[in-house]
């Protein structure tokens, strides 16, 4: 049942052996060592495992790794440029847009997708876009501020 699964992750071609039933999330974490993608509920409710597939935000626990063949996957590890944080990461940091940090990769990826599509979202649009990501520290206010800050920094 195990087979070679290969696709592009963060601009690099990556390949590993895995059972075909392996989710994209488990494949990224356990086969490729990319543990920045977090798993909360593992059934599509919490949004912690959000990654980009062909620049579109998806839940990596609801996709099989084999389904990523031929596609470009971006994880939170693919955002920073060396020591230079991605503008969304920098804005979350400045806004204290996280507390324990567990949900943060999912929020950051969802925000990255949102700002690519809509560089100047209203607060309502931000709240709608992030409504599928759960923060159990309930730090939503500063997360929304982080997104607004990221949108401003990108335009400034």
């Amino acid at each position: 049942m195990s087979e070679t699964i290969a696709f592009d992750v963060n601009g690099q071609h990556r390949s590993a052996e895995a059972d075909v039933r392996t989710t994209l999330a488990d494949f990224l974490r356990e086969r490729l060592g990319l543990t920045g993608t977090h798993l909360g509920c593992e059934h599509g409710v919490c949004g912690a495992c959000t990654v980009l597939v062909d620049e579109v935000a998806v839940r990596s626990c609801l996709m099989l790794a084999v389904q990523a063949r031929g596609h470009q996957v971006t994880t939170v590890e693919g955002l920073a440029d060396g020591d230079q944080l991605h503008p969304v990461q920098q804005a979350f940091r400045e806004s204290h847009g996280f507390q324990c940090g567990f949900c943060t990769p999912g929020f950051v990826m969802m925000t990255t997708a949102l700002l690519q599509e809509n560089p100047h979202p209203s607060e309502e649009e931000i709240r709608d876009a992030l409504s599928g990501n759960i923060c159990r520290c309930t730090g939503y206010q500063s997360i929304v501020e982080g997104v607004l800050r990221a949108a401003q920094s990108a335009s400034g």
């Binding site: 075909v20 059934h43 839940r59």
Partner: protein
């Protein structure tokens, strides 16, 4: 979480899909967007021996309008439908319902055909299919048939689809000219499954009276429900508040929604009464008089 073991198939053509379904019958399950099926696999509520992934099949996605009907390839992503100018122009009730489906990252993967074939009693698109009188194009390796929405939805997660059949296309008629449409939903939180959802359509005649009325409810039965007596009671009436309140009352008269952790049956019934009245008011406000 790990799904049960299955054999994975990634066919490239509809013919290949149909061949696999013919070969494996009820041992096979079609994987479209996976936003419902993968959780069912993870929780081991579904244990198909064969998973037939249709995401690589050519020509199964796309939106086109012709002769008053909008066709959706079964693999059309919900997000693509939501962003489609064809949908916003011709199918306002669908455009209004789509944002209620989960969240953006769910709609990025979830498909129009998948939601309809899955037939969750709380899902929005089955209600859209019913109120618009949509038709489902269903194929096997040897046959093609067209199933009305009325016949398609048969109960919780149960449709007219046979084990060897694939839903390939959904055909949604635009409906009467000048009709007012509305979709209203009450959920605990944004993106949650509906407690109650209501799709409504009102078409006015030249005198400003109701020429045609349609209603479809979700969350109150095992399938999207069209309260035909309430619809009939509105026809010929002035679209007054009294008439709409009476129609809502009629629509919920025989409803006995079940209770669960999200709300009691009686609460759902009350929500349905209020939401029907509101959605009818919105539909009336959007309806133009026939000229």
């Amino acid at each position: 979480m790990k799904t049960p073991r299955f054999e994975y198939h990634a066919p490239r053509s509809v013919e290949e899909v149909l061949g696999l379904l013919a070969e494996h019958g009820d041992e096979a399950k079609v994987l479209a967007g996976g936003q419902s099926l993968v959780p069912l696999l993870a929780m081991r509520l579904a244990r198909p021996a064969h998973l037939v992934d249709i995401n690589n099949v050519e020509g199964l996605a796309g939106i086109a309008e012709r002769d008053g009907v909008v066709t959706f390839g079964a693999l059309t992503r919900e997000r693509a439908a939501e962003e489609s100018a064809v949908v916003s122009q011709h199918l306002p009730v669908m455009a209004e319902a789509l944002p209620h489906i989960g969240h953006i990252s769910i709609r990025n993967r979830g498909t129009v055909g998948g939601s309809i074939a899955h037939a969750d009693a709380l899902a929005e698109l089955p209600a859209v299919a019913r109120i618009t009188r949509a038709e489902m194009v269903v194929r096997t390796s040897t046959n093609e048939r067209v199933v009305s929405a009325e016949d398609f939805f048969q109960g919780h997660f149960t449709t007219a689809l046979g084990d060897e059949e694939l839903l390939t296309e959904v055909r949604v008629p635009k409906g009467p000219a000048g009709a007012g449409w509305a979709f209203e939903e009450v959920a605990r939180r944004r993106g949650d499954f509906a407690l109650v959802g209501v799709a409504a359509m009102i078409a006015l005649d030249g005198a400003g009276k109701v020429g045609e009325a349609r209603l479809c409810l979700i969350g109150v039965a095992d399938r999207p429900l069209q309260p035909s007596a309430a619809e009939a009671a509105l026809v010929g009436a002035e679209p007054s508040t009294e008439a709409l309140v009476a129609a809502a009352e009629e629509a919920v008269r025989d409803l006995r929604p079940s209770s669960d952790i999200h709300g009691s049956g009686e609460y759902r019934r009350q929500l349905a009464r209020v939401t029907i009245r509101r959605s009818l008011e919105v539909a009336v406000s959007r309806a133009g008089k026939a000229s």
